[in-house]
Amino acid sequence: MNRYLAAHVVSLPPSGIRKFFDLVATMKDVISLGVGEPDFVTPWTVCESGIYSLEQGQTMYTSNAGLFELREELSYHLKKTLDLSYDPNEEILITAGASEAVDLVMRAVLEPGDVVLVPDPSYVSYAPCAILAGATVQFVPTHAKEEFRLRVEDLEQAYSPKAKLLVLSYPNNPTGAIMRREDLLPIADFVEKHDLLVLADDIYSDLTFEGTHVSFASLPGMHDRTLFVSGFSKSYAMTGWRIGYVAGHADLISGLTKIHQFTMLCAPIMGQIASLEALRSASEAKQKMIDAYNRRRRIMVRGFRQMGLECFEPLGAFYVFPDITKTKLSSEEFAEALLKEENVAVVPGTAFGPSGEGHIRCSYAYSTDQLKEALKRITRFVESRLSKL
């Protein structure tokens, strides 16, 4: 029946993650470091407010933009934590996860022929969403020696006059890289110079382990040029609730809302009510999770360095991205052999773009006992490979 599928869907390459997921699914007793979501359960106070909302019969649609109370609380929260000012009336749209927000941005601003600049490696959805919106993707490589920060020289090299949108996604999945203010300022000049719009996916901003996260939208002149995307999944362990949001200039949000109203109508009300509770009373629970990730992060970095592998220190998100080129295996070969020989699942760096070659993504959203066991097995695997060279 493939003949019924649209050509651009048929030609869309499947996610590299999906391929690996299918392989892992055939194995038993796998210790997986392949998961891109928290291992914690949503804080109970948040769950309880969702349950209560059902008991109260709050089972209807909300406005397209989302519950006003949630938008208002978000506006206050963004001002307080990231120094971002958004009017809850017309500058914030609640979406079904940050993923929907990414899709909306691409569809609302891109036209056939437009080029989207996407840092490489990065989260798997940006390029497909851009392609589905009819645009072309230009990857901008980032490098381990630069701690995977996006550099303006690489941007200039990748730039073409058709470029319209730049994706910024820091802290970064899969590398764990962050961008400090001094790293972002030259990017802002570049954006200004070429009259670009920016999709800033700040979903991991709470998981910044040194210093505080600087949002691109907070830089001088960047507020109106940025569509700020975030959500509750990573910070509050709420992946399954599917609540995200996008904030930006009222004209842009109004365009995004047009698509949202015809496709999603609104984000699920139970999740919106629970998210409101998360903002109001789960900051301590959130901090506890962040502290736990930070401790696990140190265990992982040390573990890989002790194996003799290069591993730059990731300062955000919950991934380490060690360099495995010493083993003379490609990312995919490494991940497959590790899975078959030691029953440990990691994701090949190439699943996140060509610059991921030579790296594997290991999530540390697992208990320390699991991480230690996984590190033991990976050490055994790496030692056996190195001894054969």
Partner: protein, 165 residues
């Protein structure tokens, strides 16, 4: 005042006292020497009071009876409640003892092998003490959660996907 680092270190030890100094050093980024020095100081100052596991005796199949006892006492001039509390706490049967606000004064958690044991202890040792005015004994029927840990076993949670973006 505790520094943030020290507070985090203490919390980590409170959560899992089996962590070695090296484990603690890796997880916090503090040096093992600093950690050893702080722990030894806290032990000396009775800030870290003891290291012991939380055992679910019900699951071990060893029957024990626990009771919470509300005690009203007459405070003594010059000593308040401290003198009588210090006397009461000497009994090995008493596992915890708190001075309370509200309708009674002391709250005791007591353990025995049988209900009879507990009842006898209250009748023969506790109630007759000078300054003890009255007692009310509440037997524990089931432990659901203790020291922040659920003892009944959590409901099974749907597993996460093995690999996800």
């Amino acid at each position: 005042m505790l520094s943030d680092e020290d507070r985090k270190l203490l919390k980590l030890i409170e959560e899992d006292c089996r962590l070695t100094h090296e484990d603690l050093s890796i997880e916090t980024g503090l040096t093992p020497e600093y950690i050893a020095q702080r722990i030894s100081h806290w032990e000396k100052e009775k800030i870290i009071v003891d290291y012991r596991p939380l055992i679910n005796w019900d699951r071990a199949g060893d029957e024990k009876v626990s009771a919470l006892i509300e005690v009203r006492v007459l405070p003594q001039r010059g000593y308040g409640f401290d003198k009588i509390a210090k006397r009461i706490q000497k009994f090995d049967e008493i596992k915890s003892l708190f001075l309370m606000s509200g309708g009674y004064d002391l709250s005791l958690l007591i353990e025995g092998k049988t209900m009879q044991d507990v009842a006898l202890f209250v009748a023969e040792k506790l109630a007759p003490l000078e300054h003890v005015q009255s007692t009310a004994t509440h037997f524990v029927l089931r432990r659901y959660k203790q020291d922040g840990v659920a003892l009944m076993g959590e409901d099974e949670i749907l597993q996460r996907l093995v690999v996800s973006p």
